[in-house]
């Protein structure tokens, strides 16, 4: 088994493709520049909560600020250097009338940004706003939350399929891998069964909310309010990736402040220097060429080395941060097949017992890798529960003794697997059918997680074995992940609302920062070494990395 692992610096170095894109030239400020201005429209006069984005010609970096209650905005000193900048705005209901660009030269620049009413409001709606707008019951809308994995709801509501022609289209969609985006669709090898009745029911519903009946929607388009107050005190920086097929899924910083991300659809690990914008990729060996490529979970072990869960490639990958080489841990032939799907990896406490936790979504099971032998052990955590119920071990955390805590994303449970005995304890969440998704375990033994389908943030105290839940303020947010920053605040994001949620669970106070572009957020990461903290996430469908810096 060990021989089967691709290991050793010499061999792996040969397989590493390092693509250094010298974006740094675009981001080094020649001298401190400041762009300030005001934003207004004929309808509202000075406008609060308008996002103003500036992207230097040829640069992959876009910086965004938000107008205050007087309609003023200011890019922080040193963020922009001399050059020609394209301007962009986000304010639902409005388009940018002008100026479309600004030149920054020796002096600070001031611009008056004018907005005009948009002629295509529908094009500006987030997934959340479509969910708010569409008629139908919560049960009818619920299946659409799966669609957001690969594309926006826009694509559905603008389609012209009717109840009959939707059926074969949905059947086709079901056979795509989870790690598909519009820029790179990946079919599954193992066919998935689809319930025909449910599919027809969904098709019939979708045909009532799309454009199969005419050129306009016969329901009012509802929008969320623009940011105001604290939600305007923020700077957002977006780093465009060099290819549209890069789908950043999990993002995290290393000890030097560099950004690392998993690419959901291609076998690369990515690295970004946020100071210079330099971008590198490290090729991960493709083990199963006919299966979908790409990785999901990106975690660090106790030594700071990175681990990737390779999804349909049926392997874990360990990236040595010193040698920049991979060691692969493929699933053995006895457990592997075309459906095998490893989405998660948890190496955090592997030094305790030499074991790394992972999962197999297809078989609804936990897997555990023995680092010494390279062998995997399969654990079915749901043997005590009724058969036929859908479960999916998903987000994972490990305590200091490498006991595993996992999310049952298919259903409504948190699970614990004892590292020593493999005994399983199931903890149903207070809210039924909550579908817990990703999680983090803090030093106090608080397991923070999202209840994706229940629109809640939650905490499970692993010592007291007690849950707490908090509603996310905006309906249909469907939070994917949450991060506790150690300062008493939670940070969350998801695939629906294009907003980053900052939440104080003690006071119940929430701030929602709007992002400049449609942003499909998965794993969220907070760099707590800065004051205030810095939020990082990938834009899974937008081929960019997003940095959000609150100003207070």
């Amino acid at each position: 088994m060990m021989q089967a692992m691709i290991s050793g610096a010499t061999r792996t170095l040969g397989q590493v493709t390092a693509i250094a894109l010298l974006f740094g030239v675009f981001t080094q400020p020649c001298r401190a520049q400041t762009l300030t201005g005001s934003v207004s429209s004929a309808e509202e006069g000075p406008m609060e909560g308008v996002l103003i984005s500036a992207q230097k010609q040829g640069s992959p970096i876009t910086v965004t600020v938000v107008s205050d209650d007087k309609g003023h905005f200011r890019f922080p000193d040193g963020r922009l250097s001399a050059g020609h900048y394209a301007l962009r705005i986000r304010a639902v209901g409005y388009d940018l009338a002008g100026p479309q660009a600004v030149d920054l030269e020796g002096n600070n620049a001031e611009v008056a940004v004018a907005l005009r009413k948009t002629s295509d409001l529908a094009a500006q709606l987030t997934n959340t706003e479509w969910f708010m707008s569409m008629p139908g019951t919560a049960e009818q809308k619920r299946p659409l939350i799966e669609c957001m994995s690969c594309h926006t709801v826009q694509r559905i509501v603008r389609s012209i399929y009717n109840a009959e022609t939707f059926v074969p289209m949905l059947e086709r969609m079901a056979q795509y891998a989870n790690n598909s985006i519009q820029a790179r669709v990946q079919p599954r090898i193992a066919e998935r069964e689809v319930n025909d009745d449910s599919l027809r029911k969904l098709a019939a519903y979708l045909a009532t909310v799309n454009l199969s009946h005419g050129p306009k929607w016969d329901y009012a388009l509802k929008t969320l309010p623009r940011p105001k107050g604290r939600a305007t005190h923020v700077v957002v920086t977006e780093y465009d990736m060099p290819r549209s097929t890069i789908a950043p899924h999990d993002v995290r910083t290393d000890r030097d402040g560099n950004i690392w991300y998993s690419n959901f659809v291609e076998n690369f690990l990515g690295e970004l220097d946020p100071k210079t914008g330099a971008h590198r990729e490290y090729a991960i060996p493709v083990r199963k060429p006919n299966s979908p490529t790409g990785s999901l979970d990106l975690e660090a072990d106790a030594d700071g080395n990175l681990w990737l869960a390779m999804m349909f490639q049926a392997s874990l990958a360990r990236f040595d941060m010193a040698t920049k080489t991979f060691q692969m841990y493929p699933v053995g032939a006895d457990l592997d097949d075309d459906a095998m799907q490893q989405s998660m990896v948890m190496p955090r406490s592997a030094t305790f017992d030499g074991k790394v936790w992972t999962n197999d979504v297809a078989r609804q099971s936990i897997m555990r890798l023995d680092l010494k032998s390279g062998q995997y052990q399969r654990i079915d955590p749901f043997t005590m529960l009724p058969k036929g119920r859908l479960h999916a071990p998903y987000g994972m955390a490990a305590d200091a003794n490498n006991n595993l805590y996992f999310m049952d994303f298919g259903d409504e449970n948190i699970g614990r697997v004892d590292a020593r005995t493999s005994a399983v304890t199931i903890y149903p969440t207070p809210t039924a059918k909550s579908r817990p998704r990703r999680c983090m375990l803090d030093a106090q033994g608080h397991l923070w997680f999202t209840e994706f389908a229940a629109n809640k943030l939650a905490m499970f105290d692993i010592k007291a074995e007690r849950f707490k839940e908090w509603d996310v303020p905006t309906p249909y947010t469907y939070p994917y992940d949450v991060f506790s920053d150690g300062n008493g605040e939670l940070w969350s994001g998801g695939m629906a609302s294009d907003r980053v949620l900052r939440f104080d669970p003690q006071r119940g106070a929430a701030t929602e920062y709007l992002l400049p572009r449609p942003t499909n957020i998965r794993r969220v990461f907070v760099d707590t070494s800065t004051k205030p903290v810095t939020f990082w996430a990938g834009n899974n469908h937008g081929a960019s990395i997003v940095k959000l810096e609150p100003l207070d």
Binding site: M173, T383, G388, E412, P428, A432, K433, E465
Partner: protein
């Protein structure tokens, strides 16, 4: 209708009211299943329920309730504000008699478990187990 039957109906109603207070969403195992309602009624054994009481007979809310399966594994839940717990049910292949219920709460110590008789031939007859705690 005898008093015991009345009591059981009342307790079941409490459980149903509690269950109705929470939402119900369709589940999917990490993929597109178009909102299948995974009705697993046929593979589900009877549900477990009961009061958690102290030695004075008062109900004990927010007590930890552990259902331990003889073959391995456990499920942990808590009593609600009325001191009632409910576990929707284990797999039908698990004999209800092979599941032990225990309860605990800070400031209390265990003071016995009462398993009410049920018709073993009726696989849908819920299992009622009352758990008593004593103040320390």
């Amino acid at each position: 209708m005898n008093s015991r039957r009345c009591y059981r109906i009342f307790l079941c109603m409490l459980v149903v009211i509690g269950a109705a207070a929470v939402g119900h969403n369709a589940a999917q195992a990490g993929g597109i299943l178009f909102g299948d309602d995974d009705d697993n009624g046929e593979s589900r054994g009877p549900y477990f329920f009961g009061f958690i009481r102290d030695s004075d007979g008062s109900s004990v809310p927010d007590a930890k309730v552990t259902a331990t399966v003889k073959a391995g594994g456990a499920l942990v839940t808590r009593s609600n504000g009325m001191g009632v717990y409910k576990i929707p049910g284990f797999g039908k292949d698990i004999n209800p008699d092979d599941i032990d219920i225990s309860c605990s709460k800070e400031g209390y110590k265990p003071d016995g478990v009462l398993r009410r008789p049920r018709d073993p031939s009726d696989t849908t007859d819920p299992v009622e187990i009352e758990c008593t705690l004593k103040k320390e």
